[in-house]
């Protein structure tokens, strides 16, 4: 194979050298710049972190390192040398022989990137068989070996399941194992843990770190999460809109970033609203959830005996991992789901269980903002109509007064009315759409807003802006928030009180300052301890303390066995 021959002839340590890369993408028949002249060097066994917000071109650059462009993109200039080979001059077939064999890829969503029609082990064996590296039986054996190594449950049988039969964290680890199937020189990790819960993220990070170290594989680790990259990378490169901002060794980059943009990325994590003072004992809560047990069509209870109160002008953060019942609680409060037992009361008055039997005024007082602003806004309506609708429906505003109100609301969310009032949602950025979602909620003049993961889909800087806006609106309009999130940094930033949920049960609740200081409930402890810190040694230290077998699912299972949840 020509690929291998050149490998032995080059003795240098430099594995990948990308010089002055320009990539353009086609959008609406126009070619727009995605990457404008970025250089990238990577030595054997080195891990490079690529950091940037969405649209920075991280994934595009990562894929270009494989000589691959997504449909509608093209490399217009620059050179890519991999192990001494000029990738730009290789034929399609020669490139194909490198991919999966000497350079492999770990995608963001393992659930979407495994073929649902084939068993995991068949997908593992595919690359070794295509590239004639191993026979099927050798590859199977190797897969099982790797599954053992990265602590997958029941490793001998694990591969014989279909992708839908295993959890997200396990799939992501299986994908990391699959990337290793041909023992590549370079692996591109494209946001491999972004879609995962924090406790699950750790087990994946541990597996990746272990494998990269063990096989001395070079890697490009792409992420928007600095703390995660800090654990994995030797060197960090920051990208902004297709340009390199700066690059430095990880500890240098963390301690003293030189560019303003990098500093602003760092600063995001420091936003911290001061906690409001405790409500008086006599005060009536705005919303009081009492012993709610609820579930969907099947007999299973998704919520079990959930109780907590939300007071005026306070923010209650409901924290938990996917499937813990956070959003189900929101559905019970809004009346979309009727509880099997228990009730919700509003200012001391019990609300009818279903939204159909609530009065218009009761409906008006509880509003929602959703995670995906994209799908929550009707794409056919202009901003004017989107915001006017609740103001008209709940408050009966019409004509001039309505127009005035809409403009006023746009001012409140810091969007210039003349510029935005006649736009369609598709003509707004993600953060602006979320602001419209907020305006629509406050248009009804509610007492409480349920914010369901409102910042999860946004970049850090944009999310920061949304949090500040919500904070300001809270003090101006005396709002209460029920803030659903899985992100503990957000909780730290905005909450007054914290409710920790796990498997439909409230495991712990209290004021923020108390929740973030020990002693914790073991699950809260695990959750807090799983949030990556900006210290490059954090993961190693954690692994030493907890041990490899006491992470994520395994740790939770252990806890369950001890009867702690």
């Amino acid at each position: 194979m020509p690929a291998r021959k050149s490998a032995s002839s080059s003795s240098s340590d430099l594995l990948l050298h990308m010089k002055n890369i320009h990539i353009k993408g086609k959008s609406d028949e126009k070619w727009i710049d995605i990457i404008n002249g970025v250089d990238l060097e990577l030595n054997r066994g080195e891990v490079l972190g690529l950091i940037g917000e969405s649209g920075a071109g991280k994934s595009t650059l990562g894929l270009a390192a494989m000589g691959f462009c997504r449909d509608g993109c093209k490399i217009t200039d620059g050179s890519i040398h991999f192990d001494g080979m000029d990738m730009m001059s290789l034929s399609k077939d020669e490139l194909r022989l490198l991919r999966g064999h000497r350079i492999s890829y770990v995608a963001q969503s393992a659930a979407a990137s495994f073929n649902p029609a084939h068993k995991l082990i068949d997908q593992f064996c595919e690359a070794p068989m295509i590239h004639n590296v191993m026979s099927r039986s050798q590859a199977t054996e190797y897969a099982i070996d790797l599954y053992h190594r990265i602590n997958l449950p029941d490793p001998d049988q694990f591969g014989f399941r279909y992708p839908h039969e295993v959890s997200g964290g396990q799939l992501q680890r299986a994908m990391t194992a699959m990337a290793l199937s041909c023992r590549p020189d370079l692996i591109i990790f494209d946001e491999p843990t972004t879609a995962l819960d924090v406790t699950t993220q750790i087990e994946v990070l541990a597996a990746i770190k272990d494998i990269v170290k063990e096989f001395n594989t070079a890697a490009i680790y792409i992420s928007h999460d600095l703390a995660v990259v800090a654990q994995m990378a030797d060197r960090i490169k920051v990208l902004l809109k297709g340009d390199e901002v700066e690059q430095a060794a990880t500890d240098v980059m963390l301690k003293s970033p030189s560019e303003d943009y990098t500093k602003s990325l760092w600063a995001v994590r420091e936003y911290n609203r001061k906690e409001q003072k405790k409500p008086a004992k006599t005060e009536m809560p705005i919303i009081s959830i009492k012993n709610v047990t609820a579930g969907y069509a099947s007999k299973l209870d998704v919520l079990k005996d959930v109780s907590f109160d939300i007071y005026k002008k306070r923010t209650v953060a409901v924290v938990g991992e996917s499937g813990s019942g956070k959003s189900t609680t929101a559905r019970v409060v809004t009346g979309l789901l009727q509880p099997r037992m228990g009730s919700v009361s509003f200012e001391g008055e019990t609300l009818p269980a279903g939204y159909q039997s609530r009065s218009r005024d009761q409906l008006r007082r509880i509003q929602m903002i959703y995670q995906m602003a994209d799908t929550a806004l009707n794409p056919k309506l202009r901003i004017r109509d989107l915001i006017a609708r609740p103001a008209n429906m709940y408050l009966g505003l019409n004509g001039k007064a309505l127009e005035e109100r809409v403009r006023n609301l746009l001012h409140m969310i810091e969007m210039e009315p003349d510029q935005f009032i006649d736009r369609l949602p598709s003509e707004l950025s993600g953060g602006q759409k979320q602001r419209i979602g907020i305006a629509r909620a406050i248009a009804a003049e509610p007492s409480i807003i349920i914010c369901d993961e409102v910042t999860s889909a946004l970049d850090q800087l944009v999310a920061e802006g949304i949090l500040k806006l919500l904070d300001r609106l809270q003090s101006e309009l005396d709002l209460s928030y029920m803030f659903i999130t899985h992100d503990l940094a957000t909780v730290r930033a905005i909450a007054d009180e914290v409710v920790v949920m796990k498997d439909g049960i409230v495991v712990e609740q209290g004021i923020k300052s108390k929740m973030f200081t020990p002693p914790h409930h073991p699950y809260t402890e695990l959750l807090l301890g799983s949030v990556p810190e900006m210290d490059p040694k954090w993961l190693d230290r954690l692994l030493d303390e907890r041990g490899k077998d006491n992470l994520g699912d395994a740790a939770i299972a252990k806890m369950r066995n001890q009867g702690l949840t």
Binding site: R96, R99, S109, P116, A117, E126, A127, H131, Y162
Partner: protein, 317 residues
């Protein structure tokens, strides 16, 4: 597995209900047709007395409800009744026709289904190439022409030159090889008519899947384009393809009257058309029921195959 069995039972139940509603609908629409069987039989010699006598003889003097229920009762006992016009048991009329129609359907399917799926895979592999465009245009042209026209073109090219017969007049005693030879032109005509639909659906379904992340993953593993189409895309595109194949097979059973007439082929379609012409309600009912069962059965089969092809439905967590 229990999933699929309960699905089959549920679908069969719904199928029976569909058939029942359909028989009622057919009965009512034939009732609504102008004209009268007795008058048709008597032709010029129809006098009010003879017409009344024949009507009584055939049971046509009964109210429609009674006639429908009598007929339904018979069917439930496996008796389709007698043809009013020909005074013969319907089953003896239908049996040879069903055999012929099924033979022609299978013959066509054996050519058209593999052809259209392989073509569909090939055009999605070379999508947007000249091969793709030419194949698509040809296929579209073939379905845009009326079936009888395609039939006559076939006769012009293949029958006038003497390669194949233009009349597919077969019966139960025709040997298989002769049957294949005699029916070649109708089968080819029908192939041209149904291939485009199945091929274009295969192409669309495959290209739909090609946009998904796991296809990009396969490309990044170094899989060849042909392998990506056949091994990664096809298994996930089976459901829409199978459904379109089923619809087209059902069409082959039910909708080929014109082709039957062009090639003088003794199939079910002609029987039904004759039935409508003579207001021979029991014959129309019986053929309609057979056609509807073909639709229900083939669609059920398509659903079973799509379920089996999807591990997420077969092995639920």
């Amino acid at each position: 597995m229990p999933n699929i069995i309960s699905m089959i039972i549920k679908r069969l139940g719904l199928g029976v209900l569909t058939l029942l509603l359909l028989s009622l609908l057919i009965f009512l629409s034939v009732e609504a047709l102008p004209g009268d069987l007795a008058e048709t039989i008597l032709g010029q010699q129809a006098t009010p007395e003879t017409v009344a006598a024949i009507r009584k003889d055939l049971g046509l003097d009964q109210p429609p409800i009674t006639r429908y229920l009598n007929w339904l009762g018979g069917v439930l006992q496996g008796d389709f009744g007698n043809s009013l016009a020909l005074k013969k048991p319907i089953s003896s009329l239908i049996a040879p026709r069903i055999q012929n129609t099924l033979f022609l359907t299978l013959y066509t399917a054996a050519i058209a289904v593999p052809l259209s799926i392989i073509l569909g895979l090939a055009v999605s592999l070379f999508r947007n190439s000249y091969f793709d465009r030419i194949t698509n245009t040809t296929a579209l042209a073939a379905i845009s022409m009326p079936e009888f026209f395609v039939g006559y073109i076939m006769i012009y090219f293949f029958a006038l030159s003497g390669y194949f017969p233009s009349m597919a007049n077969i019966n139960a005693n025709t040997p298989l090889l002769d049957k294949l030879y005699l029916c070649f032109l109708p089968a080819l005509t029908l192939t041209l008519v149904v291939t485009a639909h199945m091929m274009r659906m295969t192409r669309a379904a495959i290209i739909n899947v090609l946009a998904l992340p796991y296809i990009e993953m396969a490309r990044l593993k170094g899989a060849k384009p042909s392998r990506i189409i056949v091994r990664h895309a096809l298994p996930n595109a089976i459901a829409p393809i199978v459904n379109v194949v089923a619809l087209n097979l059902a069409y082959l059973i039910t909708g080929v009257v014109i082709v039957e007439i062009v090639f003088v082929f003794p199939g079910l379609g002609q029987l039904m058309v004759d039935g409508v012409k003579f207001r021979d309600v029991p014959v129309v009912q019986a053929t309609a029921l057979i056609f509807a069962s073909a639709y229900v059965g083939l669609n059920l089969l398509a659903d079973i195959i799509s379920t089996i092809s999807n591990p997420r439905l077969m092995r639920q967590r």
